[in-house]
Amino acid sequence: MNETAWTYLLVTATFSIYIGIAIYTRVASTKGFYVAGQGVPAILNGMATGADWMSAASFISMAGLISFMGYQGSMYLIGWTGGYVLLAMLLAPYLRKFGQFTVPDFVGDRYYSNSARVVAVVCAIFISLTYVAGQMRGVGIVFSRFLEVDINIGVVIGMIIVFFYATLGGMKGITYTQVAQYVVLIIAFIIPAVAISHQLTGQWVPQIGFGARLVDGSGGGTYLLETLDQIHRDLGLPEYTAAWVAGKQSMLDMTFVTIALMVGTAGLPHVIIRFYTVKDMKAARWSALWALLFIGILYTTAPTVAAFARVNLIHTLHNKPYLDLPAWYKTWESSGLIAWVDKNQDGQVQYGAGNPFVGAPDTVKDQKGKSGEPVYSNKPTSDPNELYVDRDIMVLANPEIASLPNWVVGLVAAGGLAAALSTAAGLLLVISSAISHDLMKKIIAPDMSERQELVFARIAAAVAVVVAGVFGINPPGFVGQVVAFAFGLAASSFFPAIILGIFSKRTTREGAISGMIIGIVFTSIYIVVNEFTHKGSLQAVTGISSAGIGTVGMILNFVVAIVVSQLTPPPPQQVQDAVERIRHPGEDSNPAPIIH
C-alpha cells in the first residue's frame, strides 16, 4: 500500500473511533456537558489533559523550532512543562474544591461581581479564539499535505468532526475522545523517534540515543551532539548546544519567555477546566501528575527528534548535487516546505547561515533552473545559504527522511490531526460554556431551566466551531504570533486573579478587575506595537520579545491588584468564608455558595 492509501486508512479509522465515542458518551445534563459529571478517573483525565494541551504546535512545530534554535529551544520544553507544577500546586486542587464549572465562574464568585465575571468571559473567549484558529488551520495543513485535499476542505472536515462530538457529548464526549486522541498522537510521535534513534545511534530509547555516539556514516563514532556542534561550526552557524553566543537569543529574553510560557500554561482556561472533571482535590493532584507524565513522554522526545532530524537533514542535503537528492525532497519541494536556489551555479545544495531569500518560496510557473529545479521569484540574499527549510518539515517529513515504511507516514498524519482536533475541542468548550453558562445563565437569564441552558451550550458550541472554521480558512495575518498572544494574555490576566483569589483573602473586586485590565491592556499594546505597527521597536529598547512580555504584564497585574485591594473595602464576610473553606482539608458537605 502506498503512503496516501495508508493515510486515508488510518485517518478514517481514527475518526470513526472519535465519532463512536461521541455517540456513546452523549450527555443530557449541564454537569455532564460542562464538567463530564465530575467522575473522570485521574489517569484518564491525565491523558485527556495531555491531548487537550498538546496542540498542532507541540506535535508538528515544536521539534522543528528546537531543531533550528538548539539550546534556546529548551525554553518551550521548560516553559510548557514547568507550568504544570504551578497548576498542580497553586491552582488545580483549590479550584476543584471551590467547585464551579468554569474559570469565569470562579472569578465572578470570588470577586463578588458580575463585572469581574464579564472581564473573565471576554478574556476566556479572546484567548481561546486566537488559539483555536491555529488548530483549525493545522487540521487543514495536515489534510492538504498528506491527502492532497484543498486546505479549506480539510478545515471543513475537521469542523464537522469536532462539531459532532463537542455538541453531542460536551465535556464528557471531549474527555473520552481526547483519551483516544492522546493514544494516537503519542504512538505517532514515538514510533518515528524510536526508529530514527536506532538508525543513527543503535539505541532504541531516543532519550538515550540523544547522548550516544553515531553508529556509522560521516561522523561515525563521535557523540551525536558533538557532531551537531561540529557541523554547525563548519557551516558558520553558532554551536547547537552553546548558550549565550552571538546570533542566539539573550539570557534576559529567554528567562522572560520561559516564565511567560509557564505562567501562561497555568492560566489557560481550557487546561484549568480539565481539573474540574475529577472527583475531588486528591484526584486533581494525581491528575496533574498523570498529565505531566503523559506530556513529558512527548516533550522529552521532542528535543531528540530535533537533533536527529537536524543531523539527517544536513547530511542528506549539504554539498549534494541537486540531481541526486532523495525522493522525499521532491515531494516536499512541491508543497513549498523546502526550496533551493543555486546561488553559485554549481548544481550542489549549500546550507549555511542566514536565509536563502526573502520570505516563503514563491514558485515561478513553467520555468526551470540549470539543474531542472523550480525557480522562485523571491529576492535572494547575499548569505551563502541556498536552502529554505520550513520548520514543520522536521516532524512531517521525518519518516521519509529516515526511509521508514509507508504506514508510519499515515500514522504521523493521524497523529497531527489528533493533536489539533483534541486541543480545538477543549478550546471550543471554554468558549461555549463562557457564553451559555457565564453570560446567559449567570448574568442575562438566571431563570432559565437546565434544559434551556443545555440548548444554549450546544448552540454556542456550534457557533464557536463555525467561527473557528472561518478563522482557519481565512487566517488573520497574525497566526504566527497567536501563541505569544494567547500565553501573554493568560499570564497577565487569569493567573494573578486566580492565585490572589485563593491565597489572599484581602484581594478585592476592584483590585482584581483593575489588575486584570491593566495586565491585559499593557501586554496587548506591547505585542501589537512590537509585532505589527513598529516591528521589533520595543524589543530593541527593552530586550524582551513579544513572547516574553506576558511576564511583565503578570507582575503589573499582581502589583496593581495588591495595591488597589489595600485601598478598597475588604471583601464581604461571605466571600472570605468561601475562601477560608477552600483552605480546609477534605471535601465539603455543602458546596460553596453562589454569590451575585
Partner: protein
C-alpha cells in the same frame, strides 16, 4: 477549648503545612526552571557526561524529569497530610472513645 476553636486550629495548621510544602517544592521548581537551565547553564556546561553538556541536558531533559518528580512528591505528601488532618477533624467532632477504631483508609 470548645469544638469550633479546636477545628479552626486544625484547619489553620493544615493551611500552614500546605503553604510550607508548596513553598519548598516551588523553590526547587524555580531552581530547575531558571537557575540551572538558564542562569547557570554556561557554568554547568563545563561538565560533560555521556555525550551531554550538563547544562544543556538539564534544560532539555533533566528539568522536565524534575518537574514530574516534584508533582509526584507533592501529590503523595499532600494527599497524606490531607488524610491525617481529616482524621484529626473527625476525632475533634466526635470525641467519643470509639474514635480510635475509625481507621479510615
Amino acid at each position: 477549648m470548645n469544638e469550633k476553636e479546636m477545628i479552626d486550629g486544625i484547619n489553620s495548621r493544615y493551611w500552614k503545612t500546605n503553604l510550607r510544602v508548596v513553598g519548598i517544592l516551588l523553590v526547587i521548581w524555580l531552581i530547575l526552571g531558571c537557575v540551572t537551565s538558564i542562569w547557570l547553564v554556561e557554568w554547568l556546561n563545563r561538565v560533560t557526561f555521556a555525550g551531554f553538556r550538563l547544562g544543556f541536558w538539564i534544560a532539555n531533559q533533566g528539568a522536565m524529569i524534575g518537574f514530574i518528580l516534584l508533582i509526584f512528591i507533592y501529590a503523595v505528601v499532600m494527599n497524606r497530610i490531607d488524610e491525617q488532618f481529616e482524621k484529626e477533624i473527625k476525632s475533634a467532632q466526635n470525641p467519643s472513645p470509639a474514635e480510635s477504631e475509625d481507621s479510615g483508609s
